[in-house]
Symmetry: D2
C-alpha cells in the first residue's frame, strides 16, 4: 500500500485522479494539493463526492509534503516544470499530466510552448508513458503522461507505423474533443450558450499536441507529411479521432487487422472494433476503441477515448500500476466480473 500526492486537485483532471485514487486497491491514503482551492473541502468543491469519496481538506501546494510515494501533477503547463526537479531529487516517483516533459528537445519547447525549458536533463530521463505500449521493466522515476489527443492518435497509428513506416506517404489526424479538455476556467467560448449545437476547429496547424504526436511517430520510423487538426464538440467529455493514412502500395484489410490484433493481444484497455467506435462506448472508462478500414492504398483508423480517463487520469493510474508492478487494471475497472479474461 502506498501514499499518493495529487497536485492540482481542483480541475477536471484533478477530480478524476481523486476518484480513481479513492477507489484504488493499493493506495492507502492520498492528499490533494491546490493553489486557489487550498483550504476548501473536496465535498464543497465536488458535491457529487458525498458518500462516494471520503471528504478531506485540500492542502496548499506551497506546503507540499515529501512523504508520499508518488505524485500526480495535474498543473497548468509551466507549473510542473518548477516542481518536478525537487521531487525527482528527493527520490520520488512522478507522473506529470502536463506537457512539460513530453517533448524530447528544449528547442521544441521554445517553438511550440514559447518557454525556455529549465530541466533539459530530465527531458532525457523521462519516459513518455503511453501506458498500453510500456512495461517499465527498467524503472523510471519520471513519466510524462501523454496528452489526451496524442493518446488516441498514437494508439491508432503506431502499429501501422512500426510495421509499414517506410511505405507511408502521409498521415492526417482529424480530432474532435469535448469541452472538458479545455479546462474549468470560465471563458466565453466555452459557455453552454456559445457551444450548444455548435462545432468549431481551433489552433489549426498550431496545436501543441502535434509535435508530441509527430515525435513519437518519427521515433517509430515515420518520415513524411503529417497534419493534426482539432475541433471542439458540443459535449463535455470524450475525444473522437479519424486518422487517414495513404500508403505507396495497396494493402490488405486482413493483414492490417491481424497486425493490430497481434499488437494489442495482451492489452487490457485497447478494444479493436469491427465497426467504427461510438464515443459513448468509452466515456467513463479507460478504454481506447479502435476500428480500421482499408481500401486500396488508404487506411482509415477511427478511435475514441474518454479524454479525462484514458486521455488523463486513467492512463496516469495505469502508468502507476505498471511502475509498481501491479496488474495494469487495478482501480480502473469498476465492474468486477469474475470470469472476464482481462483479469
Amino acid at each position: 500500500m502506498i501514499s499518493v500526492g495529487i497536485v492540482g486537485g481542483s480541475g477536471y483532471l484533478g477530480k478524476k485522479l481523486v476518484e480513481l485514487c479513492s477507489g484504488h486497491p493499493y493506495i492507502d491514503d492520498f492528499d490533494v494539493y491546490g493553489n486557489s482551492s487550498a483550504g476548501e473541502n473536496l465535498y464543497s468543491l465536488f458535491p457529487e463526492f458525498h458518500q462516494l469519496v471520503t471528504d478531506k481538506k485540500i492542502k496548499s501546494t506551497n506546503d507540499l509534503s515529501f512523504s508520499h510515494d508518488i505524485y500526480f501533477l495535474a498543473l497548468p503547463h509551466g507549473e510542473a516544470l518548477k516542481l518536478v526537479p525537487s521531487l525527482i531529487s528527493a527520490g520520488k516517483k512522478v507522473i506529470d499530466l502536463s506537457g512539460d516533459f513530453r517533448l524530447d528537445s528544449p528547442d521544441q519547447y521554445l517553438k511550440w510552448y514559447n518557454i525556455e525549458h529549465t530541466s533539459p536533463e530530465l527531458l532525457k530521463e523521462k519516459v513518455y508513458g503511453l501506458a498500453d505500449l510500456k512495461d517499465y521493466k527498467n524503472e523510471t522515476k519520471l513519466i510524462a503522461n501523454p496528452g489526451c489527443y496524442p493518446t488516441a492518435a498514437l494508439l491508432s497509428l503506431l502499429p501501422l507505423v512500426i510495421e509499414w513506416g517506410n511505405k507511408i506517404i502521409s498521415i492526417t489526424t482529424v480530432a474532435y474533443s469535448g469541452s472538458s479538455g479545455a479546462g474549468k476556467s470560465p471563458k466565453v467560448d466555452l459557455l453552454l450558450s456559445e457551444m450548444d449545437g455548435n462545432v468549431k476547429a481551433y489552433n489549426v496547424h498550431k496545436h501543441r499536441h502535434e509535435p508530441e504526436i509527430f515525435q513519437e511517430l518519427t521515433r517509430n520510423g515515420f518520415n513524411s507529411d503529417y497534419t493534426f487538426t482539432t475541433h471542439l464538440l458540443p459535449v463535455a467529455v470524450g475525444i473522437y479521432e479519424t486518422n487517414i493514412v495513404y500508403l505507396s502500395t495497396n494493402i490488405n484489410q486482413k493483414k492490417i487487422t491481424a497486425l493490430y490484433n497481434d499488437f494489442y493481444s495482451l492489452s487490457s484497455f485497447v478494444r479493436l472494433r469491427e465497426t467504427p467506435p461510438q464515443l459513448k462506448w468509452v466515456t467513463g472508462t479507460n478504454f481506447c476503441d479502435i476500428n480500421i478500414s482499408v481500401r486500396d492504398n488508404s487506411v482509415i483508423i477511427t478511435s475514441a477515448i474518454d479524454n479525462l480517463i484514458k486521455g488523463g487520469g486513467g492512463q496516469a493510474v495505469q502508468n502507476m500500476n505498471k511502475l509498481f508492478g501491479w496488474e495494469e487494471t487495478a482501480g480502473l475497472l469498476t465492474r468486477r466480473e469474475k470470469n472476464v479474461s482481462v483479469y
Copy 2:
C-alpha cells in the same frame, strides 16, 4: 422612419436587438452603445452578422447621443436606473429591458434587488409593457419591458386570473430556461462542461422575477398563494413554463378554452395549442405558445417562448411598434407569406 439607440449592444439581448432593428421596415438607422465593447465592430463581436447586418463601430455609452427617437436599454440591473431619467427629461422614448422599472414600489427594490431606487416617480409613470395585452392608446414615454420568465407566466395566467381570480386557491409556476438567460459573462456554472446533460434549480424562493409576476397577478385580482421556481436547462435558448392553478370549484375545459381563445383572438403572437407546446416551435420567433389542460379543479397551463425574443428583444420591438402606432408584427415575422391573416 426613425432612429434608434441600442445601449448595451454586446450581450445576448443587445445582439438580438441589433438583428431585429437591422431588419425593421421603419427604422432608418441605429447606433449601438457599449462599455467594454466600445470601439469594436459588430462584425468582430458577432462574426455571424457578415453579409446579414451592415457593420458599424460600437460607440461608448459615455458619448450617448440624444439624437435618437427611441432607446432600447439592455443593461445590467442598476445601470438603466442611472440613464433613464435624463433620457425621459429630454423627451425621449425609452424601452428598458432591465428590471429597474418593472416593479411599482421602491420597497420591493430594496427587498428583492437590494437597491435604493432613485426615481420613484418614474416607477409610477412607466408602463409595464406586456406587449400582447397593451395598446398604448395613451402614450407613455417609458416602458418597462417584462422579464423573460414573467412574460410566459403572465400570458399563461392573466386570462384565468382576470376572470376567475376570486376562485383561485393557489398558483404555482415551475420554469425552465436556457443558459442565454444568464448572460454572456463567463462563469464556471455556465460552462458546457458543467451543463452538458445537466439540470438544476436555482434561486428557489428568491428569484427577482417572482415579485414582478406576483405584482401583475395581484393587480388583476389574484390574492392567494404563489410560488415561482426556476431551473437551468442544458440548452442555449428558450423558456418552458408549467403553471398549475387550483380552484375552489371544478371548472370546464371548454369554458376555459373559449375564454383564452377570446382573450387572444386579436393577438399576432400568442398561439393557443391543443397539445402542450414544444420549445422548438417558438425558438427563433416572437411567439408565445400556450396549452391549457383542465381536470376537476386543477388547470395546468404550459407555455413556451424564446427568452431572447418574446422574452426580450422581440417584445421590446413589439412594444415599440405599438408605441409608434405601427402594425405590431413589423420586423418580427421573417417569413412574409402574403395570404396569412395576421398581416
Copy 3:
C-alpha cells in the same frame, strides 16, 4: 451466492440490470431472457460491454428456466402480468419493474392502464418496494418496483406527508425526464433531430405514474389536491422533480430540515442537500439527492435521480439486497473507499 433471471434484457432497463448483476458480489450467475433479441449475444447488442461483462447468449422468454432464485422483470406493461403468477406459484422471488403490480386496486388498472387485471390477489400480496423506506423484515415474494417518477416524488414528499399530512392544502409535482425513460423503440418524437434543444410536456393530467404517487401519498395520510406534470428533457438520462407543497400554516425551515435528516439518517442512497441538486450529481448512481426550501407556508422540494438506476435497475437491486438480508449497498457503489461510513 444466488442465480438471477433477467427477463427483458434488451431495453435500457434490462441493460442496466445486466451491468448491475454482472458486478454484484453475491450473484453467482445470471441469465438474460428476451423476445425479439433471443439468440443474440450481449456483445452484439451492447458493444460497450466488451471486456466489462462476460458475453452470453440471450435466451428466449418462452424457455424461461425456473432454476433461478430471483427474477427481475423488465417487460412492457401487461407482459409481467402474464408471467408473475407462475413464478410466484413456483415459490420464486420476483421484482417486477413494470407497472403491473404497483397499484392496489383493479379499478385503477381499468381506469389508468385500460386493462382488466387478472391477478387481484397478487396486487394485495405484493409490496410496493420504495427501497429506501422498506426493510422487508416480513419477507415478501413479490416486489412491485416503483416507477421512475414516483421514486423521486415519494422520497421527496413522504417525510413531510407522514408528519404534516393534515396541514397540507395541495401538492404539485413537476417532473422532467431524459428520453431513456421512454424506452428504446424508435419513434419520430424521440429522434435527436426532434429533441435537440427541445423540451415538451406530455400526458398532462394523464400520466400513469400519477395514481401510483397519489396512492402512496394517501396511504400515508395525504388527503387533498394533487397534480403531476411530466416533461421530456433534451438529455438521455435523469429525472429532475420540483415538488411544491402549500400548508395551512407557516412552517420553519429548521424544523423541516431536521425532520428529513432524521428520516433519512440511516439511508445510504438519499443525500440531503443544502442547495438544489444538480442532475449530474446523480446520473450513473443509485442516489436520490433532495433539497428543501421553506418560505412561510410553502415548501419547495427539488430532487434528482438517475431514472434507469435509482428509478429502475438500481432500486431493484437494492430491493433484492434487502430481501436477502444483504447490506443494501451491495453491488451499487462502484467506488470502494475504505473509510466511508455507509459500508
Copy 4:
C-alpha cells in the same frame, strides 16, 4: 410570379422547401405532394408553421399536377428517377434534391447505389447544380442539386483544385453532420437516447457522396488520392468539414487567400473567414463559411453549412433563382438590411 410543386413535403428537406417557397417574393403559389402524408394538413404535420405559413392540404404524389412551372423533388433515392423523365418530357423545370441524377455514369450508380439507372440520357443532360459556381446562361431543364456533404467539400476545394490540381498529392475530407441529414424515419441509432453526448463515424470508405465529390474534383483537374469519412454529431442541424490537401510544393498563405477571395468575390453565400468557422454562424442560413490555413505544403480548409439549407433546400432555391434569372438571394436572406452590398 411562378407556381411550384414540392414533391416529398413531409421530411426535413420538404419542410425547409415549404418554408423557403412560402416566403419567396417570386412564387405565387405552391402545392405540396406526399405519399404517406397525403391528405394531412401542413399545420398538423408541422405545428410550428401556425401563423407563419398558410395552411394547405398535402396532395398525393399519384395526382401530381403538371401545371407547375418548376418542381422540387425531395424524394428518397430511386423515387425521383421514376418521376423526372415525364416532367422533363412535359417541358417542366426540375430541381432534384435526391442523388438520382448527380453522377454522370450509370456504372457509378450500379457500383455505389446498386441501381440500374433507367435514364442515362438525362444523366448527360442534367447540370450538377453547385449554385455558387453556376450561372445557367445556357438554360437547363434538369438540375441535380448537390448532396449536403459535397456542397461544403466542393466549395472548399474547387478553387484550389482548379488552380493547383496537378500539384496535389492527396486530398482528405473528414465530415461531421447533424442527425437531420439522416432523415425523419425513426431508427434506434438516431434516438436522442443513443446520440446524446455521442459521436460516431459511419459508412467509412463507402459513403455515396464520395463518388459525387470525386467526380467533380476530377472534372476540374484533380487526379490523385482521395478519401471521405463521415461522422454523426450529437446535434440536429449542420455540417462541419475539414479538408486536408498535401501539395508537392510549398505554398504561400497569401497567394491562396487571394485566390479564394477572387474566386468568390461575386458570391453572395460564400463567406471567407480569417478563423475557422463556427457551425452556429451558418445554421439557419444559406451561407457556406470557409477558412484556409496553410503551412509549408499542407492546406487545411475548414467549412460549415446548414445541411438542410445550403446543403439542400436553400441551394435548390438559389438554383431556381439563377435558372429564372432572378437575383440569387431572392427568398434566402431573411433580414433585409437596406445598405448591404449583396442586394
